[in-house]
């Protein structure tokens, strides 16, 4: 019996993955492992409560994996949004993955899929235009958000190296954007005025959640594949994305922006700390070639379509008006 366990089922992507797997493979084949119960619509799925931050989490996970006959684990317990409580994020993401990987190795799991972010590469002026999986990630030093995710990846790989039976896939997803997505990034795209950096306009990649789910399907079908960038087929500049969403941009000098962002974050109003400013300054465009070659995964939505889908979801009136206008033009 090959069952799949999904962690982080209260998160956006985790809950979607859980729903998708429950639909495709049947609710009996899926186990939700999370500190919180999965969404009400998925009450048929077995839920095992585990707090990944507790010291005994690994032992408890091994028990669960044995009892449920778990073969594959999809680990999606990561914070997409930066948290003010950085210590807890570190415990959950870095140490939590350490516990999970240890339990997976001891519990006879064959395939551990870890959700990650293309942001772990770090936005650097010296980045090549396309970051491949071989590129060594170099996230901003002061951004624990990105460093914790990178540590989690490293923990997973260190166990895969020591226990050859355990295969690891790390899916580095581009920034999610689309219907139903609520992250700090989409919150920025829901504001009237958005601060940008004076004289910088980097390329960004926006991934439609549907493509993210298809990539999870593909990697589960294919088996352990190492690191994979899951990105849309194109990129657009940040200002193009903001102006297509009718945002008023407020250009700030890049020397001033990080302390301002930190202050704003500190007051509790800002969406992200100053470490994120680099991502609005330099590109971190990842290359999806490996996923195409090895999984046969090609994204169905471009960055632009993902953005438009998000805008249609977030601003239904504007979208309806634009549709009417386009029809009039055609007529």
């Amino acid at each position: 019996m090959a069952r799949i366990a999904v962690t982080g089922t209260a998160s956006f992507l985790g809950s979607r993955i859980l729903r998708r797997l429950a639909e495709v493979r049947g609710e009996d084949e899926i186990v939700a492992v999370d500190i919180a119960s999965p969404p009400a619509t998925l009450q048929g799925v077995r839920h095992r409560m585990v707090d990944l931050t507790l010291p005994g989490a690994d032992r408890r996970l091994v028990e669960i994996f044995d009892e449920e006959g778990i073969d594959t684990v999809v680990h999606a317990a990561f914070f997409t949004n930066p948290r003010r409580d950085a210590a807890y994020s570190h415990e959950l993401e870095s140490i939590g993955t350490l516990h999970l990987a240890a339990a997976a190795a001891a519990g006879g799991v064959r395939h551990l899929v870890v959700r990650s972010f293309t942001a772990v590469y770090g936005a650097r002026g010296r980045n090549p235009n396309f970051l491949t999986e071989e590129k060594r990630p170099d996230p901003p030093e002061r951004l624990s958000w990105a460093r914790d995710k990178l540590e989690a990846e490293e923990h997973a790989f260190s166990f895969a190296k020591r226990y050859p039976d355990l295969g690891v896939s790390v899916l580095r997803f581009a920034t999610l954007m689309g219907p139903g997505v609520h992250t700090f990034y989409t919150r920025v795209f829901s504001k009237r005025v958005v601060p940008v950096l004076l004289g910088y306009d980097p390329l960004v990649q926006l991934l439609h959640p549907e493509d993210a789910l298809r990539a999870v399907d593909a990697v589960l079908a294919h088996g352990p594949s190492g690191i994979l960038n899951i990105v849309p087929g194109d990129a657009m500049t940040l200002l193009t994305a903001l102006h297509l969403s009718d945002k008023l941009t407020l250009p700030l000098p890049h020397t001033l922006a990080p302390p301002l962002a930190d202050f704003w974050w500190g007051t509790g109003v800002g969406e992200a700390p100053g470490g994120f400013v680099e991502y609005a300054r330099f590109p971190f465009v990842a290359d999806g070639e490996k996923a195409r070659r090895e999984l046969g995964f090609t994204p169905r939505h471009s960055s632009r379509e993902a953005l438009q889908a998000f805008l249609a979801y977030r601003y239904p009136e504007t979208a309806a008006r634009a549709r009417v206008m386009a029809e009039e033009v055609e007529a």
């Binding site: 002026g125 010296r126 235009n129 306009d201 980097p202 194109d234 102006h243």
Partner: protein, 341 residues
């Protein structure tokens, strides 16, 4: 009855001002008409000039300012000179179009560029145009790009490999990316040559562009031969190109690197006009330029593995350097005047 004193009102009464403004319904109607027109123009793929866009918006009554109207104004201004879609390296066709008149002016009027040997640039397939670097700002790259686009029969787009420092600076970094340049990086170069694109490269790097006036036209060391390794790996021919005239546009008489360091600049030039004349000092001098393209050097006979042979790489690099140096020296010997050629 004495006549009433004639009062000349300093301000028109508020009521009449309100009456003069069009009714809100009219305005909304006009804005909607304009938006529909704009949508129609977009559907046709018609590009709209910046001034036309601005005039439209003022006409639509940007007076009753709201966040949304400001955002629409910004959007219209942005898309007047940017395309909604760039290619995957960030090159933006409309941005290049907008910049072109200025570059053409520099090319034809300001520097009166004389281009020879353009036929040495292959009409198709990958190639690496190797150029000497000078002139503080990357004007030479823009001129080489323009020369190939305008004077080559195949109208090829030559992508320039921009120095790290230019790819880090504000304003310049996105402008270069949108006009088709990419960061000088073996990854980028191989990817583009693999697609059969034409690349321009400045192996001298910062040492060339920030050269002092007394060292003008003496080619600096050609990096560590990275461009040769890329040519060997991809089999792309190397086309040498000598730029004469760019060395005098910003004569660097001294350097105050300590001024630039806090801003992340590798050098801070002192020229006869900069920084003394402020913004005027940024205007390049109107020297007479020449661009000479030389015979392409085919390195495909050495094979891909030759890229790992440092002696060979160095030899080819030195060969290209001396070819360009010879081309420059020949041009200099024939040149009578910096300004008239």
């Amino acid at each position: 009855m004495s006549p009433a004193p004639k009062v000349v009102p300093l301000h028109r009464p508020a009521a009449s001002r309100r009456a003069a403004a069009p009714a809100p319904e009219d305005l909304r109607q006009r804005v909607e008409d304009l938006e529909r027109e704009l949508a129609a123009a977009r559907a046709e793929g018609r590009a709209e000039g910046l001034l036309v866009t601005l005039a439209r918006i003022l006409d639509a009554g940007a007076r009753n300012v709201s966040w949304a109207s400001l955002a629409r104004l910004q959007r219209a201004i942005y898309f007047a000179w940017h395309s909604e879609q760039t290619d995957d390296f960030g090159a933006d066709p409309r941005f290049a179009e907008t910049l072109e008149p200025l570059l053409e002016f520099l090319y034809a009027v300001w520097w009166r560029v004389e281009t020879t040997g353009i036929e040495h640039v292959p009409a198709q397939g990958p190639a690496l145009v190797v150029v000497n670097h000078s002139g503080v700002l990357p004007y030479d790259g823009m001129m080489v790009q323009l020369a190939i686009r305008h004077e080559h029969p195949a109208r090829r787009m030559c992508r320039m490999l921009a120095l790290d420092m230019f790819a880090l600076l504000p304003v310049l970094a996105p402008a270069l990316a949108k006009s088709g340049a990419v960061r000088a990086n073996p990854d980028n170069a191989e990817r583009l040559l693999g697609r059969g694109e034409l690349l321009g490269v400045f192996p001298e790097g910062v040492k060339g562009v920030g050269k002092r006036f007394r060292n003008r036209y003496k080619l600096a060391r050609f990096g560590r031969g990275g461009f040769v390794r890329i040519a060997l790996r991809t089999g792309a021919p190397i086309v040498p190109c000598a730029v004469v005239g760019a060395e005098e546009i910003h004569p660097i008489i001294a350097k105050a690197d300590w001024v630039g360091r806090p801003f992340g600049l590798p050098y801070f030039p002192i020229t006869p006009t900069f920084p003394w004349l402020g913004p005027l000092g940024v205007i390049p001098l109107p020297t007479k330029w020449s661009l000479d393209f030389g015979d392409p050097l085919d390195v495909s006979e050495y094979g891909k593995d030759a890229a790992d042979d440092p002696i060979l790489v160095n030899r080819i690099s030195e060969q290209v350097r001396s070819t360009i140096q010879r081309m420059i020296d020949g041009r200099l010997a024939r040149r009578r005047s910096i300004w008239l050629g």
